[in-house]
């Protein structure tokens, strides 16, 4: 398409704008039907698979539900217990907030860094991309067990490597000060998932932009700051929102690495979801766990709302 075509477009657009004043509601109706058609799979799936379970757990949060034979309405007792009696509730909330606070910025920055590093046409780049993505392919118990070995204070690979550069590494999973950093380190290792997103986005950045910037004499850092970064803000936004939600729900690594969910040294790995799991499946206080999930939902909802409100200031579509 060339300039003439484009001006034709503009012309058509302005004609259309005068037209649509008259036929607005008819057109809107048609659009609305299209819109509903497109999002209908989600609506159907939501009503079919998610709505009832979610409503059930909402209702359950006001009961003493135990999964099998008990579900009496107890008003706000669960919430009262959470904020006034449950000593571990605050511990779990603190641990989770700590993890989210460090994990989200670090993985986002890490993902962008690796993607930018890999977004070039050089020999062997496909191999490098595969290597960088590899760690995020692994999942399940084997990875966490693997990391428990790597983080072993005396014989683990991490401290061995640190000792080569003269650093005497901490006791990681055995020192309450270092348990959460250990988990954040582990998460950084599998930052390849986020990297994949950014790499895909970078493909959409037109090369001409860089080339014209080069003609203007812009350096690498300037190019990154003025071209790359703004172009990938929609995905940074996505990454921040979803990884915040995800980080609040950290569970499996803590469950495996604290021998069945006991919470680790001085409860330093007792994350919110781990506490919830113990309440639901160990103590059989499913109603209480459902109430906890409501609170978590509200916390994450508020944070997401803030994110959405701040987005127009820095996200360029």
């Amino acid at each position: 398409m060339d300039n003439t075509q484009q001006s034709q477009w503009r012309k058509a657009m302005s004609e259309f704008k005068t037209l649509k004043k008259r036929r607005w509601s008819k057109r809107q109706k048609k659009e609305a039907l299209w819109g509903l058609l497109f999002v209908s799979p989600f609506i159907i799936g939501f009503l079919g698979f998610m709505f009832l379970p979610m409503l059930f757990s909402f209702v359950g949060s006001f009961t003493n539900y135990n999964v099998t034979n008990r579900m009496d309405f107890i008003g706000l007792n669960n919430f009262r217990r959470m904020f006034t009696q449950d000593e571990l509730f605050t511990t779990s909330l603190y641990n989770t907030a700590y993890y989210v606070l460090f994990n989200v910025p670090l993985t986002t920055a890490g993902g962008v860094f690796l993607a930018v590093l890999l977004n070039r046409q050089i020999r062997g780049i496909r191999v490098f991309r595969t290597i960088f993505y590899l760690p995020s392919i692994l999942s399940g118990v084997a990875v966490y067990v693997l990391w428990m070995q790597l983080l072993s204070p005396s014989s683990g690979l991490v401290n061995t490597i640190l000792s080569w550069v003269g650093i005497s590494g901490p006791a990681w999973l055995f020192d309450p000060q270092w348990t959460k950093p250990a988990l954040i380190l582990m998460r950084m290792w599998s930052v390849g998932g986020a990297m994949l997103l950014y790499l895909a986005t970078l493909q959409n950045v037109p090369r001409q932009l860089y080339e014209s910037a080069e003609v203007d004499g812009a350096g690498s850092f300037k190019k990154f700051l003025n071209i790359t970064l703004p172009m990938i803000t929609p995905i940074i936004f996505y990454d921040v929102v979803t990884s915040t939600i995800g980080a609040f729900q950290i569970f499996q690594e803590a469950y495996v690495m604290t021998e069945g969910g006991t919470g680790g040294p001085a409860n330093s790995l007792l994350f919110y979801n781990l506490h919830m799991w113990n309440q639901a499946f160990v103590a059989r206080n499913m109603g209480y766990a459902m109430a906890m999930s409501m609170i978590l939902f509200i916390i994450v909802l508020v944070l997401t709302f803030i994110n959405l409100k701040l987005a127009p200031r820095w996200v360029h579509y």
Binding site: F56, Q149, S152, P153, S154, F174, N267
Partner: protein, 454 residues
């Protein structure tokens, strides 16, 4: 139609359609669970006496290796010797099997027989997840075949809800060569807490920061709770009446003793080795770096499979707090249960009875080296000709140790108390609190928890 009214209508619509759906779901759930009140005997009548073929689904977590081979062979023999019952064995992953079982019970499609954790039988009885087996026991009382403390765990309000299958107990494994070299006799060297401390000092080689051999560190693989129970005459965090018994003088003394050990070796050394002991990957005991370790007696399987041929080890009970106090130890195990609302409780019970009979128990133990719940089976294994001397010794040790082994089922009045106690104990080991303060605080928070449940 403006936007606001649209949204409002949507919301009303959702509530209106959702309410009956939810009620229907709850209603169904309710009836399904209430149906469980039927006594198993009546259910059985309709199914069994007609003589038609019944097939049972049996879940356990024995997924590979000798345990799986053993259970499959046993199930096959059962099927061959029973014309009208066919059992199908289904493996479920270790640990997750119980989550799946709970979902299946809630969903009303549970299997016929499940291997469950011994410590939570009463919880499941209370929650009507397990079938009441008392009518079968009344017909033919087999309760005396099992170690009494194991049987206690399956009884809820004077009625049985499960049958014990296997068990374990905490003991001391020691390196025979190391003790011999030091001229020590295991009989006396590990008798009391003082003795084991002295023995450890004799076996220690090297000094702080540079240990070549560590004699013994009590908290590797055995928790402070077990030592507290050992000191307090077999009383766990809850006494027999169900009262919280955390800050007793004996338990405080036990914690103080453990703190002395921590000071002696230093946290750095302890953390270094603890990582290895915790995961059970690299093993400092097999590697000869640690001369004695406290451990579940099941550890014998690891030694048998992974230790070099010439590795000599012995097993001793946990030392006595003071002479005459008793070698109190702690154990666990697994039970066989029939979930509520299954179609064939009578046939299922027949299968359970088969699995817990002396012959079958003996056979399972012989192949897996598990300590069985049936006393006669363990006694037979003590002298079983197919076992080598070491194997026989393990069963002898286990049988003897089970006389003073305590099982600590989850207390119904505070099922989630354990993390509260651990918080305080950790605080003591981090030197944030004295032993007395830590246990006092633990006593208080668990008492609060018990109140929350009332």
């Amino acid at each position: 139609m403006n936007k606001i009214s649209w949204g409002k209508k949507m919301r009303y619509g959702l509530v209106l359609t959702a309410a009956p759906l939810l009620l229907a779901a709850c209603g169904d759930g309710g009836t399904a669970n209430e149906g469980g009140g039927d006594s198993p005997a009546t259910d059985g009548d309709t199914n069994n006496e007609s003589g038609e073929e019944v097939s049972l689904e049996f879940w356990s977590f024995w997924g590979s290796g000798p345990r799986r081979d053993a259970i499959e062979a046993i199930v096959e023999d059962f099927n061959e010797s029973h014309d009208t019952i066919t059992v199908e064995y289904v493996y479920q992953p270790w640990g997750d099997i119980w989550t799946k079982a709970l979902a299946a019970i809630a969903g009303g499609n549970a299997p016929d027989v499940i291997v469950q954790d011994i410590n939570s039988v009463r919880q499941r009885a209370e929650g009507q997840e397990a079938t009441n087996l008392q009518s079968f026991i009344d017909e033919d009382d087999i309760s005396g075949d099992f170690y009494p403390q194991l049987w206690d765990t399956v009884v809820y309000e004077d009625e049985a809800y499960a049958i014990p299958f296997n068990t374990d107990t905490q003991v001391i494994f020691y390196n025979v060569d190391a003790l011999e070299e030091a001229g020590l006799d295991p009989e006396t060297a590990l008798a009391t807490w003082d003795d084991i401390e002295e023995t450890a000092r004799t076996l220690d080689e090297g000094s702080e920061g540079n240990w070549e051999t560590i004699g013994f560190y009590p908290r590797w693989n055995i928790g402070a709770d077990v030592w507290a129970l050992n000191a307090d005459g077999g009383v766990s965090w809850f006494d027999e009446e169900g009262n919280v018994a955390i800050n007793t003088p004996e338990k405080v003394e036990a914690l103080e003793w453990l703190l002395e050990w921590q000071d002696y070796y230093g946290t750095d050394t302890i953390n270094q080795y603890e990582a290895e002991f915790g995961q059970g990957v690299a093993d400092p005991f097999i590697s000869g770096l640690v001369a004695m370790r406290g451990q579940n007696i099941n550890y014998y399987t690891n030694l048998k499979e992974n230790a070099p041929e010439d590795f000599n080890f012995g097993i001793a009970p946990l030392p006595e707090f003071e002479e005459g106090n008793g070698n109190w130890s702690w154990g666990g195990g697994f039970v066989l249960e029939i979930p509520e609302n299954t179609a064939h409780p009578e046939e299922s019970y027949e299968f359970i009875k088969y699995l817990t009979s002396p012959e079958v128990q003996e056979r399972f133990g012989l192949n897996s080296f598990d300590i069985m719940a049936n006393m006669e089976a363990n006694e037979n294994l003590m002298t079983h000709e197919e076992l080598d001397e070491e194997g026989q010794m393990v069963y002898e040790m286990a049988h003897q140790n089970l006389e003073s082994t305590v099982i600590t089922p989850v207390p119904l009045n505070a099922p989630d108390y354990i993390s509260l106690v651990n918080t305080q104990i950790d605080a003591a080991f981090l030197r944030q609190k004295t032993a007395q303060e830590a246990l006092d605080d633990a006593q208080e928070s668990v008492e609060n928890l018990v109140e929350q449940y009332q």
